[in-house]
């Protein structure tokens, strides 16, 4: 199993500035799988993704990304909360092109093969209509499509997306989720997508990696998103509640940190109704 995984993370521990962010995290993502990385703000999602890209050094553990033999990097990455500067003269098409050769030296020479590949990617993410427009002038959903194309144009085996659904309206969220599912099937690219809300992803995800209290559990959504499993992960009792077809994870009592903070600051405690 291990050899065939698109991504395998073993015993991964990371601390940043002396603070432990992740402890002994283990999971695997199979080729072409759609995997949701779920956790609250500050649970270490971004750190985990950055470690997989190679931008953060782990203290211990192993990260193995399946290389397809081409020798190049096989990870595509869409970072969090990117704001594309409208002052830069750059068409949507140019951003996708930079995904292909952005690290190369020298001026870009005309190339039919490259243009064809960029064009195909633009069509694949449904960006044909705004490919010629300045990227900084596009809507959030349109920019997200271009960033996905930028990351996918090199045909990586694994695509990492950090909170790509944050700051999008409901319709764009649904569109981007459907697009990513289609792309992962079309190109057999495994997707690891972080989000703080799992609900928009539940219909499409093959696997969930749930981060809390510096640790992770992974598996099928209905195996992981259960009261007893998540309570064990959090280290205190949480309830998994299903309301109107949505899943909500509720802590039965305030987590340790919040209680400690409230105890230290009694003025604020008084203001909470």
């Amino acid at each position: 199993m291990t050899h065939s995984a698109a991504l395998s993370v073993e015993g991964l521990s990371i601390s940043l500035a002396g603070r432990q962010i992740l402890k002994d995290v283990e999971f695997e993502v199979a080729p072409g799988e759609f995997c949701a990385l779920i956790g609250a703000n500050g649970s270490g999602k971004t750190t985990l993704l950055k470690a997989i890209v190679g931008l953060v050094k782990p203290d211990s553990g192993r990260i193995k990304v399946d290389a397809d033999g081409s020798g190049g990097t096989s990870v595509g990455y869409v970072p969090q909360k990117i704001s594309l500067d409208p002052h830069i003269p750059l068409r949507a098409r140019d951003v996708v092109m930079l995904g292909l050769d952005g690290a190369r030296l020298g001026l870009p020479l005309p190339s039919r093969a490259r243009d064809a590949r960029v064009e195909e990617m633009l069509q694949a993410v449904g960006a044909g209509d705004f490919a010629e427009r300045r990227v900084g002038h596009l809507s959030g959903g349109q920019q997200q499509r271009i960033l996905v194309a930028h990351a996918l144009v090199r045909r990586p085996r694994l695509l990492l997306l950090d909170e790509p659904l944050a700051n999008l309206d409901v319709r764009s969220v649904a569109e981007i989720v459907a697009l990513l599912r289609r792309l992962s099937l079309q190109y057999r690219t495994a997707i690891l997508l972080s989000a703080h809300d799992m609900n928009p992803l539940l219909p499409v995800m093959d696997r969930i990696v749930y981060l809390a209290s510096r640790c992770a559990v992974s598996g099928k959504a209905d195996e992981v998103v259960r009261t007893e499993v998540l309570s064990r992960l959090y280290g205190y009792h949480v309830d998994v509640v299903r309301v109107h077809g949505r899943v909500v994870v509720i802590a039965a009592h305030e987590p340790e940190e919040i209680r400690a903070a409230l105890a230290r600051d009694p003025v604020h405690t008084a203001e909470i109704p």
Partner: protein
């Protein structure tokens, strides 16, 4: 206006315009206008020191530009970009004040360094300006795509394997080279306007990066050539026309762009 005593002015100014047009494109795109202002001003004490020591002025300018690059890069590790840049300016101006105080017969030279003396360019300056300008242009064009990607988003650049640190360092180095090229010609105060004016106007004219870079060079050449001609005819300073034309081009680009959505912030 095209007499033999003007030949040097036309040649050197043309080289400076091309260099500033290319480097200026990235100054605007990378929001590095403050650094583009500070490096020339910070190189000015270098010229003063050179004159004090009796060595070549250009040597002093290059040395202080290089010091500026090292100083700003080092300070950037501890401080935000504009604070790091400003701290370097404070140090450089302090030294400049000291050096100027030590030389008495310098006021004419100071004026030339601040505002340029395009009509008094010596033939000996042509070769060094050509070499420095060519290096600045070559490095900028070599790093065209990594610089563009890093300007769009440092995270995307990092993910593509272009390290954030060295891209910024390389860019500051290019900026310093452009400074050294342009300072003796248009002066410390005007280098900045030549880099910022044409490039910011070019952004309004196209959405294609390579075309915008080319237009930036075209506008820069138009600025410098017109400024020299107008200055020759009117006897007004070249610097005035360089700055004013930059403003005119920007306003024209802005007006042309009015149909499209306004860039935020």
């Amino acid at each position: 206006m095209f007499g033999s005593f003007m030949t040097n002015a036309w040649i050197v100014a043309t080289m400076v315009a091309i260099t500033a047009g290319i480097v200026g494109f990235f100054v605007v795109v990378r929001r590095a206008a403050f650094a583009a202002h500070v490096l020339p001003l910070g190189a000015f004490p270098g010229a003063a020191a050179a004159s004090l020591l009796g060595v070549n002025e250009l040597l002093g300018i290059v040395a202080f530009s290089a010091l500026g690059v090292l100083g700003i890069s080092q300070l950037q590790r501890w401080e935000r970009r504009e604070v790091a840049t400003a701290l370097w300016l404070a140090v450089a101006l302090a030294l400049g004040t000291l050096f100027l105080n030590m030389t008495r017969r310098y006021s004419q030279g100071v004026y030339a360094l601040l505002f340029g003396e395009v009509f008094g360019i010596r033939s000996a300056l042509i070769a060094p300006v050509a070499v420095l300008g060519a290096i600045a242009i070559a490095v900028t064009l070599l790093l065209f795509r990594p610089l563009l990607l890093d300007s769009l988003s440092p995270e995307l650049g990092e993910a593509a394997g272009t390290g954030r640190g060295w891209i910024e360092f390389a860019f500051l180095a290019v900026l310093a080279l452009c400074t050294a090229t342009a300072l003796p010609v248009v002066g410390a105060l005007m280098v900045f306007s030549l880099m910022v004016g044409p490039a910011s106007a070019a952004r309004f004219l196209t959405d294609r990066p390579l075309l915008a870079l080319t237009l930036s060079v075209v506008l820069s050449l138009a600025t410098v050539w017109s400024a020299i001609a107008l200055s020759y005819l009117s006897n007004w300073p070249v610097g005035f026309f360089v700055g004013a034309l930059g403003g005119v081009f920007y306003a024209a680009g802005r007006l042309r762009h009015r149909g499209g959505p306004a860039p935020a912030r």
